[in-house]
Symmetry: C2
Subunit: 350 residues, 2 copies
DNA sequence: CTCCATATAGAAAACGTTTTCTATAAATAG
DNA sequence: CTATTTATAGAAAACGTTTTCTATATGGAG
């Protein structure tokens, strides 16, 4: 099987202690000549340290664990890529799992992570309760929440200002001359969505537009695919008497559903109705019309969360650290300025 | 810190051997009464086995490692999700890394994987050479390639019939009445693409259509984003004297670039030119026009590769196992039948 | 020249398990 | 009633490292 440190010791004519010191480049002084012999022997034998033994004895973990709701969501896959890079760059290895936002699965995953002795936990979850809190605390390792921060959570996190994003969406639509505005979404089952809605409605109300009528919330959307939800939102819009001039949708995929359904219903986007997304999925600018949306910085979130976690490893008692990212507006074609009727110049690129 | 088996033994008034037997549910008989005591003590202490110790002593790994070119690619993220599920279901844990198809990084990752003592390796790579072969062999664990199978590789794999996919694309276009057909792609730097091209051209030639003129290969596309490549393909098409009636594109994202660029150039898809994709990204049916394409079964690939790997763990000498999946045609709107001029009925769903 | 620090390296302990070995009591076979 | 399984459980070894402890030269300081 794999060569062990003992075989390297035998081959290099030294003791196992010496070999360990060389190969784990400890601070302990070892003669240059000997070091060379050891390195050569290890090389020749194709020695690779057994990480289980190493972790066991040194009581140091080489793993950072991450839990995201889904890997298929382009936002999270971007975050995860950034996390992966940063984790490797910090000398750790990544153990990544997806939870589907299922509390049951989340709990099982935390047990697994507990038994692999990860050095830190990165997690994005919409659930927060006694049980989860205890489970995470029992892990005895620093945990960093990122992206959505569940209500009541009070620990380290790298978040995003969903409230500001909601405000930004509404402000932009109003600044483009819209007054008759709808807000399409599913149930408000997570804090992030409530915040977005609050920000959005706040601005509407400030502008003297009734936000109560604006909301088109698809009740049973919890189990629906985002796209279907968008279709349902557009259905509802088409059913109403008066069409708004603009609709903000809770995420990009749903926005695509809205657009497709409206187009089929004979309503042109953006000429009859403007549609505004949220997320900035990488396909938004490839569409026709390309999607005006709001971006949450995904790489930055992943990187920052990882850095924070790494810095927390080894000093557990530190007070709550956090970082909040801000939304950035991505102006493209799916929202048009009211009053202008000329066709906006098309572009095939961002 | 975390409770150990010894503390559980003390608390339950038994020996550490007994505790181990209970908690690792070994086949060894242990009195029901005692078992209960142990379980309760473990529960009370919140005991979680230390996987490093467990792996070290039992010489069994709990990890399956996977390397994919990219996590941001929706095809791979679907594969990875399936792998994750299947790995967990088999009682293992997943260690997943992305290589960007970079041989250097691949090699580093293999070293890492070697030292974590994974039980099996799942890998999708376009590179195959002496060095990689030796590295993988040195791991001493079963390796299963999936998706693309590099030329010269002879081991376990779960593949896809790219040649058939190429044939299918060409046959479909011809069956829809097209004779003037282009094939848009980047450099043929990987076996899978060569196979697709070969199948495609084969059918063209059989039908008496010169395949040599059909190929629009963007030279510098190696470093380009797929979408840019599509734009470049369309540019080239627009530059030519005669527009083909149909263009097959090497992947969906590039197809989106082609469509957008053609539309901007005043060429309507599918009325003036039909566009055929390849991959079936999840956004294909959300677009306008929705994308006609060919699907490689991603979940099935991930699941099958994992099952194969798991079955291979522990009997290393078995001969080369493999499984090949076949393409399935996804008919949507971006390809139209030549001769028909009525607008196909739009649908907002698959 | 003696004493003490220093560089170097081997011996042994330890990490938390699983597994093998050994021991005892109960149960069955003869 | 003795001999031999069988059920049960503790003791001890082992997995491959890192770390602590101990030992031996070597080199200055006095």
């Amino acid at each position: 099987m794999n060569a062990t440190i003992v075989e390297v010791a035998r081959k290099s004519g030294t003791s196992l202690s010496t070999v360990s010191r060389v190969l784990s480049n400890s601070a302990y002084p070892v003669n240059e000549k000997t070091r060379k012999r050891v390195v050569e022997a290890a090389e020749a034998l194709g020695y690779r340290p057994n990480s289980a033994a190493r972790m066991l004895r040194s009581r140091r973990s080489m793993y950072i664990a991450a839990i995201v709701p889904s890997l298929n969501n382009p936002f999270y896959s971007t975050v995860i890529s950034a996390i992966e890079q940063e984790v490797l760059a910090s000398g750790y290895m990544l153990q990544m799992y997806s939870s589907n936002n299922d509390p049951e699965l989340e709990s099982r995953l935390l047990d697994l992570i507990g038994s692999v002795q990860a050095a830190a936990l990165l997690i994005s979850s919409m659930n927060w309760n006694e049980k989860l809190e205890r489970k995470i605390r029992d892990l005895g390792i620093p945990a960093v929440f990122f992206d959505q921060i569940p209500e009541g959570y009070s620990g380290h996190y790298v978040g995003f200002d969903f409230h500001e994003a909601g405000r930004m969406a509404a402000e932009f639509l109003i600044s483009e001359g819209h007054r008759d505005i709808a807000f399409g979404c599913g149930p408000f089952d997570r804090e992030s969505r409530r915040q977005y809605r609050n920000g959005f409605c706040e601005v509407l109300d400030e502008a003297g537009i009734s936000s109560a009528d604006a909301i088109v919330s698809i009740a049973g959307a919890g189990s629906m695919h985002e796209y279907e939800m968008g279709v349902a939102i557009a259905d509802e819009l088409l059913r109403r008497k008066g069409m708004p001039t603009a609709v903000a949708v809770i995420n990009d995929i749903a926005a695509l559903g809205v657009i497709k359904r409206l187009e089929i219903g004979g309503v042109n986007v953006p000429f009859d109705v403007s549609v505004m997304g949220f997320d900035d999925i990488p396909y938004g600018f490839m569409m026709t019309p390309s999607l005006t949306t709001i971006r949450q910085p995904a790489e930055e979130t992943g990187r920052m969360a990882t850095r924070l976690a790494v810095s927390l490893i080894g000093d557990p008692g530190s007070e709550c650290m956090n970082e909040i990212f801000h939304p950035v507006l991505i102006r493209r074609e799916s929202v048009r300025r009211i009053g202008r009727i000329e066709r906006k110049e098309n572009s095939y690129n961002d």
